[in-house]
């Protein structure tokens, strides 16, 4: 009794091809189209709409929805279900994302594909539950303990939430790693036109299964892709999965520096060495620009508006939007820093991605923060004013 991907059924469940929906809903559509068959979650503002819609649609699409007792359990359940062969997802917001961190690390260590959508809200702590923010950019990177790499994407619209949710599933299956979709209260609750992509307009990637019999199968041995093939529980491969440092056969090895080094470096390298193909950005450069705006997610919307207004005034300005957040698009940021003298970074926090941006720029351009917290988006004017002051 296992889930089978049935596109017709999924499209019937989703309904109209063109819809006017919230970002939280388009995330659910994206997940269904990507083949998500297991969802575990816990209510939290502003992400609850995803769980509500999943509970309604997922059983009809042939999958299983469970509301767990907390976010720790939700994260655990999606990892367990992933080993039973399902494509799995959970959604949450800041406080819940904090609770998930230990098990996100477990998913990294055990190379378990799964998707976590964090609809960011204003913190710390309970903060402003209904207000959007970009406060978890660093938590997504370093929230779990120990050396690891992570993949995180950040959409700036309802349509892109759908597209990137599909991408998140594909990346998690391809690299066998948790993928975080960093949306926020603004994008999650925003209503916009959303078009369901047709078959052939998007790719569906499934994890590699074993290509050899049980006797020859080594569960954590990787080929040159650095990603091992994944056997499913119940298929007779007898896989032992542990969060302890383990050798290729899966057995614990807790006091060998070599074994730990070999494992953790491979986990990092399998993402790090594919930084180029994982990186997605939107570039809009003008010849001769001396200034640039670099933004992502919700704050990229007023940033793009500021760019348009400046250009209408015949000011030359470059615009770079990060879609992939982690692994960090170092090269793209460095390239921009080589082009201009000043890069303005509007973020809905008191300064998070500005740090890796500075690191990537290596002093080639001055990096100027344009922070905003408390909920409302930056206005284009606010961004332009900040640019005038420092110019």
């Amino acid at each position: 009794m296992r889930h089978k991907y049935d596109e017709k059924k999924i499209r019937r469940v989703i309904g109209e091809k063109v819809q006017f929906v919230q970002g939280d809903a388009s995330a659910v559509y994206g997940a269904l189209l990507a083949g998500c068959s297991f969802f575990a979650g816990y209510p939290i503002t502003p992400a609850s709409e995803t769980a509500e819609l999943m509970s309604k649609l997922l059983p009809k699409a042939g999958g299983v929805y469970i509301q767990m007792e907390d976010e720790i359990a939700s994260m655990g359940a999606i990892i367990g279900a992933s080993w039973a062969g399902a494509k799995t997802m959970t959604t949450t917001s800041g406080p819940g994302f904090s609770l998930m961190q230990e098990n996100i690390g477990y998913a990294c260590m055990t190379e378990t594909p799964c998707v976590v959508i964090d609809v960011q809200r204003s913190g710390p702590s309970t903060g402003q539950p209904t207000e959007g923010s970009q406060g978890d950019m660093m938590q997504a990177r370093w929230g779990t303990h120990g050396d690891h790499e992570i993949i995180a994407l950040s959409p700036n619209s309802v349509q892109e939430t759908l597209d990137l949710t599909i991408e998140a599933f594909n990346l998690s299956e391809k690299y066998r790693t948790p993928v975080i979709l960093l949306t926020d209260g603004e994008i999650g609750h925003l209503r916009e036109k959303c078009v369901m992509p047709e078959k052939g307009e998007f790719e569906i990637i499934d994890r590699k299964g074993p290509t050899v019999g049980r006797d020859k199968y080594v569960p954590f041995q990787a080929d040159e892709s650095l990603v091992p093939s994944m056997a499913r529980f119940g298929d007779g491969y007898h896989v032992y999965v542990t969060g302890l440092t383990h050798v290729e056969k899966g057995y614990p090895s807790t006091s060998s520096a070599e074994d730990h080094d070999r494992l953790v470096r491979r986990l990092v390298d399998k993402i790090e060495k594919n930084r180029k193909s994982i990186t997605m950005v939107e570039k809009d450069y003008q010849k001769g620009s001396k200034i640039a705006i670099l933004a992502y997610g919700a704050s990229a919307r007023p940033s793009a508006a500021a760019v348009r207004k400046l250009r209408r005034k015949r000011k030359k300005v470059d615009f770079l939007r990060l879609i992939t957040i982690w692994p960090f698009p170092n090269e793209e940021v460095r390239e921009l820093a080589d082009r201009v003298d000043r890069i303005y970074v509007p973020e809905m926090n008191l300064g998070q991605l500005v740090h890796p941006i500075r690191e990537a720029a290596e002093g080639r351009a001055k990096i100027i923060q344009v922070p905003r917290i408390g909920g409302p988006l930056h206005t284009p004017k606010e961004i332009m004013d900040a640019m005038r002051k420092k110019a």
Partner: protein, 273 residues
Amino acid sequence: MFNKARKIKEKYIQDEMWPSIFCVGCGVGNVLNYTLRAVDEKRIDIDKVVFVSGIGCSSRLPGYIDADGLHTTHGRAIAFATGVKAADPDLHVIIFTGDGDAAGIGGNHLIHAARRNIDMTVICINNFNYGMTGGQVSPTTPTGGFTTTSPYGNIEIPFDLCELAMGAGATYVARWTVGYPYETIQAVKRGLDNKGFSFIEIITPCPTGYGKRNEIGEGKEYWEWCKKNTILKSKYEALPAKERRKEKRIVMGEFRNRKREEFVEELWKLTKA
């Protein structure tokens, strides 16, 4: 028993993991033996069994079995196992956990899984302390018990894990000590038979941790201590009410075996509808 144990070892044990990490006199290995015997006697296809565990001495057990195993984070075995079972209901899920893992850090998952009556068999190895970390006080340490973090004797009241599981809705509940192998094997078999949440507590010696600080001794003395501090349910129930109230020993036996709607079956009804 010993011949059988050898056969069980040949059939189910992952040789490359041998010898185990367990201390001399530890009862965790006995629990493994009893559990595998129950699986063997039920003729369950080992390819379709997933052994799930959390963190602690008890939770190392899945690593020694030649089967699918999921050694998860501290306290979360039941949450992970819920995902395994719900995603593929054809799998049998057996959980090894300890008193700290199941009732301390993982208490929330324990009661909710019992409430849902999800089909899984939880084998809770209760050794009255956190053995892996050096013997700290746990939610089941007897009042007055000495541990590394209750140096003046435990001032807290311990959990009765079976009462807790029953209160939360578990449909099969039993408690034995490692000194009752056949009764324990029978309990695990009944737990596997039960289409619902089965909770089997097994009181187990920990000479290195709890034993040393409470002058219980090792090996035979510890097994005798377990016997001395427990009373069969049938004997307990035969006591006059007044004596029952005064009874300090831990009651052993099968406390519940009943039927109720099972969670994953109900879940998949929605999917198939």
